[in-house]
Symmetry: D2
Subunit: 291 residues, 4 copies
């Protein structure tokens, strides 16, 4: 398949490389040119503009957020000028409000919108082992299935309404942030009685909480290993804000998300915004005046 | 070994039965006599008073809380009258403040205090598959090891200071309550966009959150199956209070625990205290005005 | 002075009437025509379009929120077409982010922006007794001083930067919401011991809290008198959201505002959005299962 | 009247001096002897033991908290040995749970318990201008009225049940803590936009919040003047804990009180426990990384 690809950040470059490796024809665009050139050396064509990347069977977008997606896809007219019938595989974490706007714009341009946000950090993306949440027109999803299979270890079907996949992604990231905060508070409590975070989390992640989220982030908290960032704390704050906004639009109070927002915001105010978002867990030690 | 056993509630009766089955000699006491008689039919001796159960090599206590432990062990003078050298295997979830008082009283009575609180609900206790957190004098722990092995699938050594095992238990229950609240909020958010809790949790508990705590409580939340209670919501409130009190004594703020306390208290105020504490997760739907 | 006036809601109509009464020449516009006609009977001219109201010495706007201000002033091109040198007296409660956009657009149109948000509900507006927060170019403020004096009992000078007046307005509304929540919680606590809200608040509002905010809202809470709404709960939620957004833009965590947001959102979810925002105080009784 | 007086801390010494000045015969006791000797120079008799101070017509107690009241009144047997018919004017801030225990013990000793907690700091106590909340047997209250009048500017009658006065005192202190937190957050928000706390609070405390609580604490926050402490932050934490405990006993969730508790606890953990509790307001600046 001929695939246009927008957004070659930490996640996108690994995903695009896996599409190339699976034999697809790729035309890529990125705001800064280096990642595109790197992929060109692997066989991709470099698009001179975002619009050029839409001249394909399928467009994949993995841009940083609402704002960059709007800038690349809408503001320059790329979407409006797209070929009717194009399938857009939208894989970034976007706000529900923006997705709703995108759905209107895609309908106007007669482009099919398939939501396919993912779980997995950059190493998982590079390994082609993402978990992909898919929602949209079923025929379109079937059509892009080879692409999804090249990028992920599993595709989780979530129905026809693209917002459903996006909200599951947002809810999942909220659950991760909650787990990080929870481990931080539990570890600070234990440390008050001389139990190191690693001792506590060793018990918990081998019993009731024997899950990747707890093991990975638990180790980072136990070791206070918050740099380099695999996922920046400022991005975590953005995602918690997406949860709060999505909740507000449907009148769903989220008291834990509110606490997370305040704690993340405090971390940013105190200079920790560029650390990994697991640094949220480290805040509990600071609050308690612990080393 | 001759083992005295105090407290034959849902947890204690299964644990005591496993000790019997492993060939130990048991003398049991319970406030209401029926569970003691049931165990007598399996070969246990029934103690006429708590003090009589202390005439043994090892005393195991699995009473409901601080108050009942105080009433049974301290108020009637049973501990004060105990044989010096007795090992007390203290397996209930107790407050750190009360454990500190117990440590003083045990030292006065020259009784060795081994903390051994457990993770696992009644079915796990009956199956002898508990996870046991052990802290106290190492020689004493070695001495009671056969008892621990009869009751649990694993013993997690936590050092010499008994408070360390108790605080890990308290921190672990806080983590469970946090996971329940988190799933409730995430599910209410998803439901605002037509995604059923079961759909969301199916994805999450098969990927990032593939852990018993999430699977078990997630299923209960997805099905709104909060009765009958395996662990009552009022007990969950008690345990969150233990976390807050233990934190306060060491100046450890626990903002998530504060939210949990308020939400559990509201649930009790509105008549849900006797439901399973997974009903905490169901509160999120109510707050959002969802069915 | 010839004054254009946009927005004749509950607040605006009283303010406009006071300008007329002070002898100013008024040209008014409102989305629904009735309030404009009512003012016409008092001597005002009715503008056929928003743009027509800008043909004046001073423009006063008192529209509902960001969205309506944007629709009326920006989307139709009224501001862009305004006479350079016009002074715009912006009196509504607007978000800081939107004010920052307005400042750019006013500079482009060479219209002077004077921020003048107010404290006081509709009865206070009608009586010309508002407290007005003024910030902007000092010469422009001096120029419109007769208008401010006609609408308010006091003008509080806040410097040259218009955002300063808007943020004080937002902070003040947050303080009001906090006071309402505080009284609700305190009253529910007292009621748990048989002390009626009126008894508690009688003591407090005659001693430490002898202030209008506590007296007015305290009486409403004591009497559970939340209808008809003088200021709707949904508007209160909007204003708390303005505080959270303004804080987030400057990395200022506001934990009380987060609680207020969740409690207000829950009230809306449960059908209380059209009540007076003092109904926020009534939520505390509901949470406690009190009548 | 012959009056026994227990507890000559910052509050008690002023209150006792006013009783002396009003012509009453005083027998005083304090844990450290100096304040008692100071009052002796003004004409008071010094009691050799707490029990000796109960040999009077009326006993006034103004001890620091539950623990010291228990130590002085109950543990040594002073109350049990009291003359039946003695009136005990209990003026300290005590927990509801302890008051309930005191009521039982007073009934056993046939001593009449009159609750009379106060609003006002040490300067107000010295000036005889306290606001006194009175609840208990009406005849006893009438009997001690001259004492109340000597110590206070007003007596607020709250009925027969002594707990009613104590809960109003607890609710009032919660309201004060809430006001301090609110002003801190509002001031940090404003400061994010260059508005000094003093500018914001000048507007608010001259309009909607023109009340002593806001004026006094607002000035301290604006000037970051948290030392010397008129009321220590650790005592504020204790009082918020009393509110939470009283609420929990009646199943009244208090989300604002939970936030206050966490913020106060964090302040203590970070070395601010001995500052005035208005330092709670200063935490908002720290959270935002402001100077």
């Amino acid at each position: 398949m001929r695939v246009g690809f927008l957004g070659l950040g930490g996640m996108g470059r690994g995903m695009a490389a896996n599409l190339l490796a699976a034999g697809h024809e790729l035309i890529v665009w990125n705001r800064s040119p280096e990642p595109a050139h790197a992929l060109a050396r692997q066989g991709a064509e470099v698009a001179p503009s975002p619009a050029a990347a839409l001249e394909a069977d399928v467009l994949v977008s993995m841009l940083a957020d609402d704002a960059s997606t709007r800038a690349v896809l809408l503001d320059g007219g790329a979407l409006a000028a797209a070929r009717p019938g194009l399938i857009h595989l939208s894989m970034a974490t976007l706000s529900i409000a923006f997705v709703e706007e995108l759905l209107v714009r895609h309908a106007q341009a007669r482009v099919q919108y398939v939501a396919a946000p993912v779980f997995g950090r950059t190493d998982v993306a590079a390994a082609g082992k993402l978990n992909i949440l898919a929602a949209g027109p079923q025929a379109a999803i079937e059509r892009v299935r080879p692409l999804l299979d090249a990028m992920g270890q599993a595709v989780w079907p979530l129905g026809d309404d693209p917002r459903r996949a996006h909200v599951v992604k947002i809810a999942g990231n909220f659950m991760l942030a909650s787990a990080i905060e929870t481990m931080g508070e539990a570890a600070a409590l234990a440390q008050g009685y001389g139990v190191e975070a690693g001792e506590l989390l060793n018990v918990m992640t081998n019993t009731l909480f024997a899950a990747p989220a707890y093991r990975n982030y638990g180790a980072m908290i136990a070791e206070r290993r918050f740099e380099p960032a695999a996922f920046k704390l400022t991005l975590g704050l953005k995602d918690v804000r997406l949860a709060l906004a999505a909740g507000e639009a449907r009148q769903v109070p989220l008291p834990f998300a509110s606490v997370l927002r305040d704690n993340l915001l405090e971390a940013v105010a105190q200079g920790e915004g560029d650390k990994d978002w697991s640094a949220l867990g480290g805040r509990a030690f600071k609050r308690a005046g612990q080393a």
